[in-house]
Symmetry: C2
Subunit: 121 residues, 2 copies
Amino acid sequence: MTSRAERAERARGTRCCDGEARPTVSANEAETLSRAFEVLAHPVRLQLLDVLARNEGRVCVCDLEAAMTVKQPTVSHHLKLLREAGIVDSERQGVWAYYFVNREALESLRKDADKFLDGLG
Amino acid sequence: MTSRAERAERARGTRCCDGEARPTVSANEAETLSRAFEVLAHPVRLQLLDVLARNEGRVCVCDLEAAMTVKQPTVSHHLKLLREAGIVDSERQGVWAYYFVNREALESLRKDADKFLDGLG
DNA sequence: TATATATATTGACAATCGTCGATAACATAG
DNA sequence: CTATGTTATCGACGATTGTCAATATATATA
């Protein structure tokens, strides 16, 4: 609780700011945006994205696995989530699976995140 | 699986990109950043932030509650998470509790998010 | 074909999350 | 003091998440 300037008195049972307190972001937009942030809300996924973004189309799962602290099924699991979110894609080359970021999807995610955060003032 | 240009052949049991596959974001940084994204990973918290950012220090819980679809204890719960994350603060005025965004914390969050997302290329 | 390697999937488990009714804590009016 | 309105906390519940061993699937090599 931080101290602040005084405020107009008000009777109980009254709203303080009626119309002004409506969100400008709809429930649907908030839903969509929060799902985008969810994808980013795990350290392993952030590191996977980091590696993939810096090694354009050249990283196989075995190397991703080596770069992470978690075991192979867990890496595979997080890659699946990134794939389902659309921000990475993969290609099979023989025994190996190479993952790479979907640049348009990533750009779109960044734009949405920026727009929301910038919109906050 | 998207089709891509051909790749140098390689024997099984070999790494494809050794050193290059290291994350530039440390496990600790990833941990911290992912916690920031976690806060944003829920539609109600996004809408709360939205409302608070647009009504500088003037919104009481009763009005936040009226603006959300979830019940009062749930609103209180999400406000607590935002407070614990440091990006909002609150002040009690008599019976009412007024919430407002912590501008420095919000700016710092935005900077970290931007830095990571921009860093991806 | 048999074998070895790379990746994905399954299934189980503990841990965390989101929600809400009930209730506590607090402030004020009467 | 009592009653009423506001917010926070508690406790329970189902749902979701993260992890990994075990296993399946796919591919290449011998």
